[in-house]
Amino acid sequence: MEPTYLQNTTGPSGSTKLSTGESAAADRQVSSASLSNLSAGSGLKKPNYFQTKKFKIFLFLFSLFSIISYSQDCGDYYNYHKWVNCTKTIKRNYKIYTQPKNTRIGINDTLTYNIVFNGNRDYIISFCADQIYYPISIRLLQPETGIELYDNATDDYVSSIGVGFYKTQNLLIVITSMADKLAKDKIKGDDGTCVGMIMQWKKIFNKIE
């Protein structure tokens, strides 16, 4: 089965812990109620755990966590680029270009975007993800030859770069999460994270070559 984003953090695991604690508390409550009932000789039925108020609260919280966990997937994150740190890179005098894309990436995973860049334009290409998955390697390659045109390793793995084009052409943008071993230890199971990509453009050259 495919791993799920944030499944390893706040969602079900947190609520499972809660259930254990709540269960114990509820058990204690049931036991004391049963004892007092017995001692009083009332003959009342033993209250069911599932009927307790605490269980209902737990159920509500568990449902909430589950729903949140379920919804936190890249597939539902089409607006991801708008609310994570990508928003910091949006500039007023630039227009959003092409489909902002959100995809899942794990440590050392590589994915590639084949993108059309129009000539006489300046682009800003930005990536954003959970901080723990940084640095993100960004390389620009020529699709036909595979020749590398740029590697952000030379710029300390900056996550936002500007590229000006004179002629319309395709480029491959290859990204890899380069998070170190320390990060890998922190992310147990490495379910991956959503990487948002946003591109902006503005016209730069009057002359068409």
Binding site: P3, G75, T98, L149, Y150
Partner: protein
């Protein structure tokens, strides 16, 4: 009461399952993923991983061609009265794309009234193909309120297109994205080639049309992955014809040069230029018109 308890337990179990499943699988399915590509030539040392082909919206295609100087010729647009003729799903999706391109064309020239008419037509068609959730009145109001603001209209129509794409991809309907986009791209080309009345080597519109080879290539690669159902074979054959024609145009090759500047900025110059001769353009125009008319008939 016991029944209720079992219900709670079952509900709990289902929630647990849903949380575990997440949507990771869905995401990978909906993404435009090509086979892993590894170059044996040695130029690409590392594997590229999954390759996503992204293609511009019809509004972006028209904006790019408009840098060559398009004009507004409303008689070229597909009549909204034909909408009811499109009954088969394939015709509906193709013509939905055609209308989206027409909407973008109206928006490009700030023709709000025409844009609203096309938007309303798209809304009606979208209802028929279960797309209406994303085609709401908010967009119509947005277009109405952006009178004489061409830049905003262009942004809105692009956003509108990608909302449709995202909605469909999220529901595993890449096949539909492919067909709608094919219809839209063909309409963009149809509008552009028919604005050119006379060929000239230096005609900027023709040069911009030639540059759309790259956008078509990406759409073609996307479609190759997603158009598989026999019913959709028409759409793919249209696209393949255009793709093949683009492949026949000659290329002026120039070495790519990269100049790294300050502030994490670089400039890329050079690269290939697609050239269309007069005879090629005439044939291209005829073919595009023929394909478009067979879609909108």
């Amino acid at each position: 009461m016991k029944k209720i308890n079992y219900f709670f337990a079952g509900f709990l179990f289902l929630l647990l399952l849903s949380a575990c499943k997440g949507g990771g699988t869905n995401n990978r399915q909906t993404a435009d993923i090509s086979d892993k590509t590894v170059s044996d030539s040695g130029n690409i040392k590392k594997a590229l991983g999954y390759v996503y082909y992204l293609f511009p919206s019809p509004a972006e295609v028209l904006t790019a061609i408009n840098e060559g100087g398009l004009v507004y010729e409303p008689q070229l647009l597909n009549s909204i009265e034909k909408r009811e003729k499109y009954v088969k799903p394939n015709d509906q999706y193709l013509n939905l794309g055609v209308y989206v391109a027409d909407l973008s064309y109206c928006a490009l020239f700030g023709r709000n009234n025409d844009a609203v008419i096309y938007l309303e037509t798209i809304k009606r068609m979208s209802d028929e193909v279960n797309l209406s959730a994303e085609i709401n009145n908010e967009f119509i109001d947005k277009v109405k309120n952006k009178e004489n603001n061409i830049d905003s209209l262009e942004v809105i129509t692009s956003e509108f297109f990608f909302k449709i794409v995202n909605d469909l991809e999220a529901n595993n309907r890449q096949n539909d994205v492919a067909v709608i986009s094919t219809g839209a791209y063909i309409e963009c080309l149809y509008l552009s080639v028919n604005i050119v009345k006379k060929y000239s080597k230096d005609n900027l519109i023709i040069r911009k049309i030639a540059e759309q080879k790259h956008a078509f290539n990406n759409l073609y690669q996307y479609c190759k992955k997603h158009i598989s159902i026999e019913d959709m074979s028409n759409s793919f054959s249209y696209l393949k014809q255009i793709y093949d024609t683009y492949g026949q145009f000659s290329e002026q090759k120039e070495k790519v040069k990269v100049k790294e500047e300050q502030n994490y900025h670089l400039t890329i110059s050079g690269g290939n230029t697609t050239v269309i001769t007069e005879a090629e353009f005439k044939l291209f125009k005829e073919n595009i018109t023929k394909i478009r008319n067979s879609i909108t008939k």
